[in-house]
């Protein structure tokens, strides 16, 4: 069993956010996984900051 298969099995056994975590696992298989994850991380952070700014504007 490969490492990724092992992790996939563990994810399925735990049954929490299975699809999302397996999708992340698929990214980890890619050779440019670091770049992909870093881009996703920045994208999510940017969307949080943008939504927060919008909310601050609405509340203000």
């Amino acid at each position: 069993m490969t490492s990724l298969e092992d992790l996939e099995q563990r994810i399925r056994e735990r049954g929490v956010r299975v699809e999302e975590r397996i999708a992340l696992l698929r990214v980890l298989e890619q050779t440019d996984a670091e770049a992909q994850l870093a881009a996703r991380r920045e994208e999510l952070l940017a969307s949080v900051r943008k939504a927060a700014d919008k909310l601050k504007g609405t509340a203000g």
Binding site: L7, R41, L55
Partner: protein, 717 residues
């Protein structure tokens, strides 16, 4: 998956050739520079292309490495045929002779079902087939001519090799990637974003509730029951204030437009009117000014009245005095006539006195002349003789000085006194006239002042000034009393209005606070709030997933390392003993250490000491090869495609070690395809003569200048 065949064209020493790899063990034998290494390199170039052609590949001799045959104008091409579960597949890598250094190779895969994959699809097929990537290959599948010691003495490389041997390299890579993302840091960043938002937004959101509460408390203090507070209350208060304002305007007899407020549509207009009303009333009614003016006027009338009677008395007195004077001393003409007469009398008296004195003086002079001349009877002027002249002169002088002169002087003095008295009487009369005139004017001026203070029409016919003034005073007293009453009544009215205005202002604040509080309630259900929550959840889930995956990877890695450590060490021990011999006592083990950052690996001797630093070259080679074989065995056990490519593995080994190596190769080839390139010698002899495995022996002859690498003979068994 096993290799079947290798086709080469214009690859390094090769012009064109084909080698069958269809046996578990393929031995390529040739003397130096026959093309053994080129043959093995071709397999790697076909699989990994440029990865193996640079210094960063980890293989020192590959720096500035040229894949193409020197002088060839045709493309370089290597095709590796593999046996797969679905039939044979051929991976072909091709590069044009004039291709630029950065140009991509042409990579294709021909599948058994006739499909031909190219480029990224071909790469994907290689990945999906679980063929080793370059890093795995470098550590676990090949033994090159570089010194083995370097692979073991470099701690980083050694750790990678041991990780690969334990089958934990994937976990290490995963952990590295996941650690790189710093999921905890991401969570911290999200926490700080949330904290910032809480500081800014939630504070702002909570503020309206506090404002609302505070506003309600102030309204209660202003006499508004909490239960009555509502937007409609503004209209109620404004209407009540408007009604009172209209009554007040009537009472004050001022004309001010008071709005009626039919609805609460314009709440701002209500507040504006209420705020402006007090000043407007004060301005329009002028109660204070009117009171002040009436009070001042009354005071001035009183003052004038107070002064008028004395003034009149003074005038009458001076008038009477003048009349009396005139009666007693005549009028002005009489006085002038008497004065002239007295002056004339005085003048005459003085004249007579002067004449008498001159006469006496002449007589004295004549008497003097007579006495000097001693001619007492001769006239000093005409020389006529007058007897007793001197005596008569002296008598006359004596009589004049002793009687007439004093009488004339007395007469003159009497005339002077009368003249003086008359003159003084004339001055007194003038003064009395002036005094009478002045007091009369003063009296008249006061009357005029008083008249001017009276309301026009007050001094009507038949009413004297004093009566009119008293009537005016009474009217003013009445007006002052009324104004004072109005003023006293106005302040409570204005105070009540001021309270209404304040309540209206506070109600407006309450409405704003209530609206903001409502907005807060609305905001929780707003798209912005939802979008923020979703974004936050997505980022937090991403971070949590990364963190969980990292934890799972570490957990799986530790579990696997626990189960694999003994197994791997057993394999390593077997191969080490096979190569180095039982008698060498070379007992090394892989040791896994758990650190806060993850697992670390090293090689220790049986006593737990550092083994590699004291070993000789042969022992290092033996351990390096044992590690390689153990990895191959482990990969094969894990069901992964496994080959071993060994390029001159017998370096530094004596015959005993070579014999052991032959046994080790035979053992590993039972589970993993092995391609080994050797110079003719003991190892090749033992492999060919003693191995019971199916094998192929390829003998390379001396390289031909035109044809390149040349296969001299092939043998299969």
């Amino acid at each position: 998956m096993r290799p079947i065949a290798l086709k080469l064209r214009n690859f390094r020493g090769w012009r064109e050739g084909q080698i069958a790899l269809d046996r578990p063990l393929v031995v390529v034998i040739g003397k130096n520079a026959c093309g053994k290494s080129s043959t093995l390199n071709a397999i790697e170039w076909c699989l990994f292309g440029k990865e193996i052609e640079k210094k960063a590949s980890g293989i020192a001799e590959r720096a500035d490495w040229e894949a193409s045959h020197r002088g060839a104008s045709a493309p370089t091409e290597v095709a590796l045929t593999l046996a797969t579960e679905s039939g044979n597949a051929t991976i072909t890598r091709r590069r044009d002779a004039e291709a630029a250094a950065r140009a991509e190779d042409e990579l294709t895969v021909d599948l058994a079902d006739g499909r031909k994959l190219a480029g990224s699809e071909a790469q994907a097929w290689i990945r999906e087939s679980r063929l080793p990537d370059w890093e795995t290959w470098r550590r676990a599948c090949c033994q090159h001519q570089e010194v083995s010691r370097a692979r073991l003495t470099d701690a980083s490389d050694r750790s990678l090799i041991l990780s690969s041997l334990l089958g934990l390299d994937d976990f290490d890579r995963l952990n590295g990637v996941l650690r790189e993302q710093q999921p905890r840091k991401l969570i911290e960043l999200l926490d700080s974003e949330l904290a910032e938002l809480e500081k800014v937004v939630l504070y702002r959101l909570s503020q309206p509730s506090e404002d609302l509460f505070e506003s309600e408390r102030r309204l209660e203090a202003l006499g508004v029951e909490r239960a009555r507070i509502s937007p409609a209350l503004s209209l109620e208060i404004a209407r009540a204030a408007s009604g009172r304002a209209q009554d007040l305007a009537l009472r004050l007899r001022v004309t001010i437009e008071v709005p009626s407020f039919p609805s609460d549509a314009d709440e701002a207009a209500m507040r504006k009117w209420a705020d402006a009303w007090i000043a407007q009333v004060r301005k329009e009614s002028k109660l204070s000014d009117r009171l002040s003016a009436a009070t001042k006027k009354r005071a001035r009338i009183a003052a004038e009245l107070e002064q008028l009677e004395p003034s009149e008395a003074r005038w009458r007195e001076s008038k009477e005095t003048l009349a009396l004077e005139l009666r007693e001393r005549g009028d002005d003409a009489t006085r002038k006539r008497l004065g002239l007469e007295a002056a004339k009398t005085l003048q005459d008296a003085e004249q007579r006195l002067r004449e008498e004195n001159r006469t006496l003086s002449l007589l004295r002079e004549a008497a003097g002349v007579l006495r000097e001349s001693q001619r007492f009877d001769q006239c000093p002027v005409c020389t006529s003789g007058v007897p007793g002249l001197l005596a008569r002169l002296e008598q006359t002088l004596e009589q004049g000085g002793g009687g007439k002169i004093p009488a004339l002087s007395a007469e003159r003095d009497q005339a002077r006194e009368r003249a003086t008295t008359l003159e003084a009487g004339a001055g007194a009369l003038t003064r009395l006239v002036d005094s009478e005139t002045q007091s009369r004017k003063s009296y008249e001026s006061r009357r005029e002042n008083l008249s001017a203070l009276l309301t026009p029409g007050r001094l009507r016919d038949g009413l004297d000034l004093l009566a009119a003034a008293r009537e005016e005073d009474e009217a003013l007293a009445k007006e002052i009393s009324e104004l004072e009453t109005l003023l006293a009544g106005l302040e409570p009215e204005l105070e009540a209005h001021r309270g209404d205005a304040e309540r209206l202002r506070e109600l407006n604040k309450w409405r704003v606070a209530a609206r903001r509080a409502q907005q807060r309630a609305d905001l929780s259900a707003s798209p912005e709030w939802k979008a923020f929550q979703e974004a936050l959840d997505a980022a937090a889930c991403f971070a949590a997933d990364l963190d969980v995956l990292g934890a799972m990877a570490r957990e799986a890695q530790e579990e696997r390392s626990s189960s694999r450590e003994e197994e791997v060490n057993r394999s390593l021990g077997v191969y080490t003993r096979l190569i180095a011999g039982e008698s060498a006592g070379l007992d090394v083990r892989v040791r896994v250490k758990r650190t806060p950052k993850g697992l670390s690996y090293d090689i220790e001797d049986a006593g737990g000491g550092r083994a590699l630093s004291i070993l000789n070259q042969a022992s290092l080679n033996a351990i390096s090869l044992a590690l390689l074989f153990a990895q191959a065995e482990e990969r094969a056990r894990g069901g992964l495609p496994t080959w071993l490519v060994l390029d001159d593995p017998e370096q530094s080994l004596d015959d005993e070690h070579k014999q052991g190596l032959a046994r080790a190769i035979e053992r590993v080839a039972a589970n993993s395809a092995v391609v080994v390139a050797l110079a003719p010698g003991k190892l090749s002899e033992w492999l060919i003569a003693r191995s019971a495995l199916p094998r192929r022996t390829i003998q390379l002859g001396p390289r031909d200048a035109k044809l390149g690498v040349r296969i001299e003979s092939q043998e299969e068994r």
